[in-house]
């Protein structure tokens, strides 16, 4: 039996083990494997531009050198794998075959959104028989074929609908023809393109006006004052099938179902999102331009995509570290974003976790280390122990560092090896616990960990502090310049999360940074001087020889 070993580390691993290697930090590995294994999705823009230009360039230069021309043609043929998405009439029968292989598990054999996976998903898969589609660029109720094609190709961020760019384009058009056949009556009427007001750029002024409009039209009712999906109407919202539905967190544009661009946001605002409580605002703003001002404001609330951290760094500070999450020190530090995922190892599992991102800041001085954690949670839960549980977050460490890099099992350790956790629970505060698996969690006696939490407008900010040294063997010691494994777990008690219903990360590394060495100021001039010397010697030598030869 063959045992494939992968050296990990950026390059070697990539070569040896495509798509299933590990590398120091999860996202790096994931991102790389994504690039390598699924790089088909080059941006449509580049692809199209290439398609348009390459042939012309080829013909113009054909005479100048066959090699050059051939190279360009080769390049063009390789780069251009995204064909322009012109609407095509699909073949519903051919689409059915693809549907049965790829779509039925969620959307059901009858297209009613009741596939075997449906009950586990939130949001629920689309019921094609209803003919109600969320994402459309039309002023009529039905989406255009292009709209369907885009959603099929790019998926619906924040849901279980993945991008299907891996399917041949022909298959996707066939699928659209088949999907439409579930509600053919409704698709009879030709869709009309939604006419948006003329685009307004994202200037400071426009954003300010957008904010005024945001308040005037009371977006906060559902989306919350700061856009974090914590509005007062949130618990009441239902979709047209009677299922509870969450408003979008406007600070996380990358989860927008129709995409994060300003044009996409403006379109959703103008036309609404069918089947959901999100109404159309095109005729309900003061001036037509306000649609763009609103879109600009919403786009200003957060990045189009989060930059995820890799290695977590604790900054060395000379001063005392404040408990207060709002303190200046924390505002000055750059947050490191860590994605959290659902827990599917132990029962009960959590397929639709509430907390998907925690932003970490860490600082240490000669006595203690402090973690500043920020995450969105739409409700500040007052635990009642029945339906509402405590909101909580845990930082997990191995109690001791093993030289071989071995760590306890990522989900709270196991019977053989315990983990140490620094926890914060709403209504309880900071504590230190040791765990041998999710069901065997014990508070550590004599906890010296402290901390403070603040909740406002759908967001927690918590500071958790502890001495650098360990009181006993159940607790880790934090040392500068040592790579300390760290993992995160979070619970949104208001969403019923408790116990193993949690969101979690893999093991990351935390490093307490050393004061930076002066080497970076010494080495470069030395290198430059040596190179200069070498250059001068070469020139001198060449001239001497050149003179003697000629």
């Amino acid at each position: 039996m063959r045992a494939g070993v992968c050296a990990s580390g950026p390059s070697a691993a990539e070569r040896a083990c495509p798509c299933s290697t590990t590398s120091p930090a999860p996202f790096v590995a994931a991102a790389r494997s994504h690039l390598r294994c699924h790089a088909r999705s080059t941006s449509a823009g580049t692809g199209l531009a290439g398609a348009g230009r390459a042939p012309r360039r080829h013909s113009r230069r054909a005479s100048t050198g066959a090699a050059l021309g051939a190279a360009v043609a080769l390049l063009a043929s390789i780069v251009v794998d995204v064909a322009p998405a012109l609407a095509q009439a699909g073949d519903a029968a051919a689409g059915q075959a693809v549907y049965q292989r790829k779509c039925m598990g969620c959307h059901g054999e009858k297209g009613d959104g009741k596939g075997p996976a449906a009950e586990l998903l939130d949001p629920k898969p689309r019921d094609f028989t209803s003919g109600i589609y969320k994402i459309r660029t039309t002023s009529t109720r039905m989406p255009s074929d292009q709209d369907l094609f885009r959603v099929l190709t790019e998926g619906m961020p924040g849901t279980s609908m993945p991008p299907w760019a891996v399917l041949p384009e022909r298959d996707r058009w066939n699928l659209i023809a088949y999907i439409k056949s579930f509600a053919s009556e409704k698709f009879k009427e030709a869709p009309k393109k939604l006419e948006l007001p003329k685009e307004v750029g994202a200037s400071a002024e426009s954003i300010k006006r957008g904010r005024e409009m945001f308040e005037a039209i009371e977006c906060n009712k559902c989306h919350g004052a700061d856009g974090r999906a914590d509005g007062p109407s949130r618990p009441e919202l239902k979709d047209e099938w009677g299922q509870p539905i969450k408003p979008a967190n406007l600070t996380k544009r990358w989860t927008f179902r129709g995409g994060p661009s300003r044009a996409a946001i403006a379109t959703r605002l103008a036309a609404g999102v069918l089947g959901t409580p999100m109404p159309a605002f095109l005729d309900s703003v003061e001036k037509p331009d306000d649609i763009w001002h609103l879109a600009n404001y919403i786009a200003s609330l957060g990045p189009a995509a989060p930059a995820y951290g890799t290695l977590l760094t604790a900054t060395a500070v000379g001063e005392a570290i404040p408990d207060d999450p709002q303190a200046e020190l924390w505002k000055k530090m750059v947050g490191q974003n860590i994605p959290l995922m659902g827990q599917v190892i132990a029962d009960p599992r959590n397929f639709n976790p509430s907390i998907d991102l925690v932003t970490v800041r860490a600082a240490y001085n000669d006595r203690e280390i402090a973690f500043h954690l920020t995450w969105d949670d739409p409700t500040e839960s007052k635990p009642d122990g029945k339906q509402t549980f405590a909101d909580a977050i845990a930082l997990q460490f191995p109690p001791t560092l093993e030289p071989g890099g071995e760590r306890p099992y990522v989900l709270m350790g196991d019977a053989a090896e315990a983990v140490y956790q620094l926890r914060w629970d709403s209504g309880k505060g900071v504590s230190e616990v040791t765990a041998n698996g999710p069901t065997r969690v014990r508070a550590l006696a004599g906890s010296e960990a402290t901390g403070k939490a603040a909740y406002a407008n759908g967001q927690y900010q918590v500071v958790i502090k502890r001495g650098l040294g360990a009181q006993d063997a159940s607790r880790p010691t934090f040392r500068p310049a040592v790579f300390t494994p760290i993992a995160f777990q979070a619970w949104d008690g208001g969403a019923g999360e408790t116990g193993t219903r949690l969101s979690l990360t893999s093991w990351y590394y935390l490093r307490l940074e050393e004061p930076q060495s002066k080497a970076r100021f010494v080495i470069p001039p030395v290198v430059a001087l040596l190179a200069l010397g070498a250059m001068l010697v070469i020139v001198w030598a060449a001239n001497r020889r050149g003179l003697s030869v000629s």
Binding site: R2, A3, C37, S160, V344, Y509, R520, I523
Partner: protein, 250 residues
Amino acid sequence: MSFLRSRFVQAALILVLSAVILRFGIRPPAPWSVFTLYMAVVFLAVLIFVSSDSDSWRGFIRPIRSTLVDPDQRVLRSALVVVIPLLLGYYAYTQAAAKPQAPAELRAVHPAPPDTIQFRGKQINISGAENPLRKDQASRQKHVAAGAALYIRNCVYCHGDNLDGQGHFARGFNPPPANFQDPGTIAMLQEAYLFWRIAKGGPGLPRESTPWNSVMPSWEDRLTEEQIWQVIMYLYDATGQQPRRWETAH
């Protein structure tokens, strides 16, 4: 186009073109290590090419020597003498100021399987075992369909609808979920190997495969023996891969 006849320009052109093609022409992009390796080969080939005869070599050397020696190239020469050390100095700075990287980890992706495993108190042979459901050709479709339903309810979150390891939880986990479409995964493994990996999950991995890091559950807690074989059938059916056969003992 007389400059195209210059050996030096030809050599430079070949190098630049190769670099462009290797960097941007290969999908998915090749990692740096592969790129540098290929470029080194190209460089050697170019050296052989330009030194194939002495005329060619002289033609190649001429512009270099001219830059170093000729009085009318003094400006270019002085510029190079300044710019090259600066570039190297800058490179040295980027290296010296680089943030530390997390330590590299060695991980066996496909460790050797055990000969037998305990499955819910029953001993199951792994070494040499075949998927028992394959014997019954008539029920094949039934098993594949059952496997598909199990897959979509249990596996899709990490391994993805398209079985490509791109489920919506995939990004957060290290090691990333296996990509079954990749010829380096199930296509080079026996079905019984998959049975072991599914039944025992991350915690069942040997030390060299970092069992503490894998979030792959031990499915023996949730799926029956038959269900696991069904899922395996679905994996091969949906990806079009063929399971590896056990080598017969000599």
